[in-house]
Point group: C2
Chain length 153, copies 2
Amino acid sequence: MSDLAFQDCYPDDYSHCYGCGRLNVQGHQIKSFWDGDEGVCRILPRSCYSGGMKDILYGGLIASLMDCHGAGTAAAAKARELGIEVKPGALPRFVTASLKVDYRSPTPVGKEVELRAKVIDIEGRKVRVSVTLATDGTVRAQGELLMIQLKEE
Amino acid sequence: MSDLAFQDCYPDDYSHCYGCGRLNVQGHQIKSFWDGDEGVCRILPRSCYSGGMKDILYGGLIASLMDCHGAGTAAAAKARELGIEVKPGALPRFVTASLKVDYRSPTPVGKEVELRAKVIDIEGRKVRVSVTLATDGTVRAQGELLMIQLKEE
């Protein structure tokens, strides 16, 4: 059991993501962890991340958070499958092939959001992940991602 | 023919979006215009918007730009259908019901990106839009959105 977030275990060269890179000081630096078989991530977005209206969270941010959290969960799941320990530099890195988000209801600004990701299937370097985003236990958006593992150089 | 961007014509209350709101001083403030029957938007993203690697654009930003540009094009197309002139405060406002992005190839950081949106169909308050994102004329990502017009209060 590791206290490290998935994103703390990407190699340095892959840690510059605006959404989840620990070396991107201007970015969100989200952190994802296992909760049983689900990847979980909690974040309180800054109030500037509003949609058209001031009190509704920006849909682009929702898609972005799902993308990064899905990528992290895919990497951690692949590591689990391969028996790789989650430690700094050890996690394989994935890129997004496709991302689909269904927005169910407006997400309020000023609330902590909780993202939960489940692996649908792993097929070689391909990992499919479903993600939900919720506030106060209510799912506001549902996503699905196809992630592709980068080949080792 | 208007020199105003679609986003300059949203009512004030709907102009706080992090991606496209002219009243959101911390946001991207993207601007979209008609080019014939296509909505077009050009932007040079700041270098902090990298993906895992420093030289590749953040996929979450790509999804975000598609979302805002698609929403703007949907609104402008609906206004065209209704014979509404594109002028400040006049544009109907849409929210995103679903967003799908297929990432074809990495988008380089440091290049102007061009988004082009086409309306697939309009059915009452529903507008479906396809969007591409390109650099140097090469399409890097393809998206499709379902946008829903907000009801007047």
